[in-house]
């Protein structure tokens, strides 16, 4: 969207309060959704819970195609449809809810940098493992991605998605990496996050921010998703403060409150 259009949309958004019937759309939970989409969706859900904004999660097989940007998840609030965590954070800010108001400029810049790190490293690694690793692609990703469709459409769509992701990986330079190198990158990313977190409850001390939601979404999903090998989960488990961080957010925001 152009800047002028974005400004206009923010103005419109600011006019109305958060409705009761806000909905978040994602692919089918049991059969279809993949690791990267599940992580992104969980990040948005965590963020909205941290803001105390009620949202209902609806699973639809064509959620990816419904989304205006083609990415999961997206929320339908009033008349507006907004997809991906970044624009959703801005959208809620326009409505007066924000988690990062208490940060100064230096901290905000730091938060943005770490969010970029997670998106460039963790998310890309998830996509790589799902689609560029032949074993995972054949056993998990392609069957799950194409499960709502009938033959031969399921094969066509699954292979189309795989080629698209592989082209993108080649474009950003990850095409030549091996699985070991990707695991190493994930480890390094987790080390940076772990160091920043230290012994604090959240990344910016007492209050959670969108960075916490994003990190939680990715790490929790990796820890709880079955892949062809447990290598990825093991790498994360070696950082105990990240584990307790995930547990803390799960306890505070996801347990006890009905999902």
């Amino acid at each position: 969207m152009s800047l002028a259009a974005e400004a206009f949309v923010s103005q419109m958004a600011a006019a109305e309060p958060w409705p009761e019937n806000a909905t978040l759309y994602q692919p089918l939970k049991d059969d279809q959704i993949l690791l990267s989409d599940c992580a992104s969706s969980l990040a948005v859900q965590a963020y909205l819970r941290m803001c105390c904004l009620p949202v209902q999660v609806v699973c639809k097989a064509n959620a990816e195609y419904m989304s205006p940007s083609g990415r999961i998840p997206f929320i339908h609030v009033g008349n507006q449809v907004v997809s991906e965590l970044g624009p959703i954070v801005q959208f809620t800010k326009a409505k007066g809810h924000s988690l990062s108001d208490g940060l100064d400029d230096v901290q905000r810049a730091e938060m943005k940098a770490y969010m970029e790190l997670v998106n460039n490293m963790l998310l890309t690694a998830e996509l790589y493992i799902q689609w560029c690793d032949d074993a995972t692609a054949a056993e998990i990703s392609r069957p799950r991605y194409s499960s709502p469709y009938s033959w031969p459409l399921n094969n066509i769509l699954a292979y189309q998605k795989q080629w698209e992701v592989r082209r993108k990986m080649n474009a950003i330079g990850w095409g030549g990496k091996t699985l070991e190198q990707v695991y190493e990158d994930v480890s390094q990313c987790c080390q940076a996050l772990s160091q920043r977190l230290g012994t604090q409850p959240y990344f910016f001390n007492k209050q959670p921010t969108e960075l916490d939601a994003l990190v939680f979404g990715h790490l929790f999903t990796i820890l709880t998703t079955r892949l062809t090998s447990t290598e990825l989960a093991e790498r994360i488990k070696s950082y105990s403060n990240l584990l307790s961080f995930c547990r803390r957010i799960e306890q505070n925001y996801f347990e006890g409150k009905s999902s």
Binding site: M1, K60, N62, Y65, M66, V81, Y149, S150, L153
Partner: protein, 469 residues
Amino acid sequence: MGTVHARSLDPLPMHGPEFGIQADDIDTTVIEQEPKQEVLENKHVVVQRVHIDGLGRTNEEFLTYEIADVFRARNLIDVMRKSHEARQKLLRLGIFRKVEVVIDTSQGEDALPNGLDVTFEVTELRRMTGSYNTMVGNNEGSMVLGLKLPNVFGRAEKLTFQFSYGTKETSYGLSFFKPQPGHFERNVSINVYKVTGQFPWSSLRETDRGVSAEFSFPVWKTSQTLKWEGVWRELGCLARTASFAVREESGHSLKSSLSHAMVIDTRNSSILPKKGGLLKIHQELAGYTGGDASFLKEDFEIQLNRSLFWDSVLSASLWGGLLLPIGDKPTSIADRFYLGGPTSIRGFSMYSMGPQSEGDYLGGEAYWAGGLHLYTPLPFRPGRGGFGDLFRTHFFLNAGNLCNLNYGEGPQAHLKKLAECIRWSYGLGIVLRLGNIARLELNYCIPMGVQSGDRICDGVQFGAGIRFL
């Protein structure tokens, strides 16, 4: 030919024994006229040889079916008539540019005194014809390439290919047609295509990639078609402002359907007929041969025409359709019916009637539409006998309804639903006939019975198309 010198009043010698007029007979021809005419009609002839000249790649045995009838002629008038019919049949195959008939007496040793030779001199169409167009419109430019191969294997098979490459979208179509030798009305056609469509009234964009196989055959006076079609449909929003109901329909689906159509057409022309009627019934069953979409769709079209006094024609038509989903999945926006516009209920905007959400029309699962027209020649008949005959004035009355059905209530409730909130319109206008395929209309319409949510176009409305209510 050499130079001919006419030095006397003697007639030039004619070659060909059928005339046999010599200078001596001239005076007596007048007296012999009547018996000669009788001779032509009653004289028993035998067609000894029928052959076709000028064949290249066409298979000769394939053509024997078309010309076989000529052998059965018994007198000269009959021979001429059957040859004419055979010529029509040969032209209908679509593989010859020109067919000429030459009837001559038999030559050669086994020639009977009353034997005739019929020769069809044909010119085949070129092996491949191509066309290239560029089209510009609506912020989009495209290049269209067409290729036609008539008579590919010698038995009137036709292969056509069309490819359109545009700034926004690409589409193509490949079609193979094969008639049964001897029975041209029985034919098989296989198509592969990709088409894209934009529907601004629903804020919807649709891309279809499909394969279809069709088998047509005549049964008594009707023409029947059986078809299997497999289509991969991709739906998307045309604009970011599309309503959420349309957004929910975005995505991919696969439709695999069997359909049957029956057509009885006794009209004298398909555009502006003067007499006759049309009955078209079409049903489609999807889901039993695979695919995601599962429904039963029925629709029919009836048209009756009658000439009245003073060169005017009264025409009545009725359309209707029903879409029943099978199973618990709701119907897709790509399968539903749409109504309204200059080609159906005049006075309403294109397909802008019925169920809608935030200004986007979603189509309906059942509809009916009726029209009553009175076509008259233009007042004061300008250009009569020429250009003016292409135009007609018409007075029309259209009515119809489009809605979704609430199932489980029985057919009574469905009929009641369709009878509520009828939209109708009346008016007059001018119709221009384009060849034998299309027509243009310019009407002044007054829409009535407008329901909330419908978009109307009262006043002057222009329409162009092939199929009008």
